[in-house]
């Protein structure tokens, strides 16, 4: 499976690389610490998608979804606070899709869960 994934990459990319080069902005590391190397041989990588992403083509008012019985008051939600705007997703559905993406007024957004 891993070999299949590697074959999909250009040859120049198919070698382990340092996560981020020194001097670049590091969010996952304390100042002055060297970023850990991504050890591709340790990764579990599938040849095909593991879960079908949710490609969002439309939204509706949450109040209407509640009124119509699509969701209930206690339904768990994830609310993104993206620069494009705020948007709710159903937690239970995102536990299946893991990724959702779309746009708000032309500005792209994505959620990973």
């Amino acid at each position: 499976m891993l070999d299949g994934w590697k074959r999909a990459l250009p040859a120049a990319a198919a070698v382990p690389i340092v996560m981020l080069a020194a001097g670049r902005e590091l969010r996952g590391q304390a100042a002055g610490e060297e970023a850990p190397e991504f050890e591709v041989e340790r990764a579990y990588l599938a040849d095909e998608t593991l879960f079908v992403p949710f490609l969002v083509e439309g939204t509706e008012p949450l109040a209407e979804a509640l009124r119509d019985g699509v969701v209930e008051e206690e339904t768990s939600l994830l609310v993104m606070e993206h620069r494009a705007g705020r948007l709710a997703l159903v937690t239970d559905q995102m536990a299946y899709h893991h990724v959702a993406q779309g746009d708000i007024s032309g500005e792209p957004w994505m959620v990973s869960f």
């Binding site: 990459l9 250009p10 990319a13 382990p16 996560m19 981020l20 969010r27 996952g28 590391q29 304390a30 100042a31 610490e33 991504f38 591709v40 340790r42 990764a43 579990y44 990588l45 599938a46 998608t49 593991l50 079908v52 992403p53 439309g58 509706e60 008012p61 949450l62 979804a65 509640l66 699509v70 969701v71 209930e72 008051e73 206690e74 339904t75 768990s76 939600l77 994830l78 609310v79 993104m80 606070e81 620069r83 705020r86 948007l87 709710a88 159903v90 239970d92 559905q93 536990a95 893991h98 990724v99 959702a100 993406q101 779309g102 792209p108 957004w109 994505m110 959620v111 990973s112 869960f113």
Partner: protein
Amino acid sequence: MVCNTGVSLTPFVDGMVHHFESRGLYNGVSILWDEETGTIWNHITGEAVYGPLAGARLPVYNLLHTTVEAALEADSDLEIAISERPIRVEGNFLERVFERLTGLNDRFQGTMAREDTRRPTMEVGIGVWDGDAAKYYAMEDVLDAGEVIVDRLSGRGLVVYVEPTSRALAALYANAAGARWEDGELRLDTGEVFRGGEFFDESGERQEIERPLQVFTRWYGFALTFPETEIYEP
């Protein structure tokens, strides 16, 4: 995913929208793959970790846990995106997941190099980060403190609390020295009040909520993503 970690990002690279999917695991957490280039991305930090775009990064924003009731109380105009998948509504999603998943199977463990043993692997907590600073708060410690902790992150006042309806942890910036829950309201010693998902100053004026980046997560997922993270000690 098992660690229940989520963020929102901007899937825009070099002037074009890329399309992402969950393609595997690394350090026990999901990794993303984009169909345009085949690059592998860290799904929490938005960093491209392997492949043609290695070193690139996607802007990251928060993804907060709540419920329909609480979301509408905070914003009656909020929009929702609903997929074709069925929606289960029995019980609280987080409580269900945390009760059911108490360990990692071999597939997850096989992707982990070394564990940070300062806390239990599957412990539930919140990880926050701002620039180079990262800190973890165990759910147990927040509950023991009366469901709210006042602390500091990157030189700023930080309030970590249990969100009343979803029972998830969340964090916001506020310059308070103390805080307590009273009648469903989070009262800060500055006179500020957090209620119904909104934040009010001492005169009752609604304020914009400022939050550090945060994930409600399992310890192992945060520790392996932010290996130098501090841990809140009561």
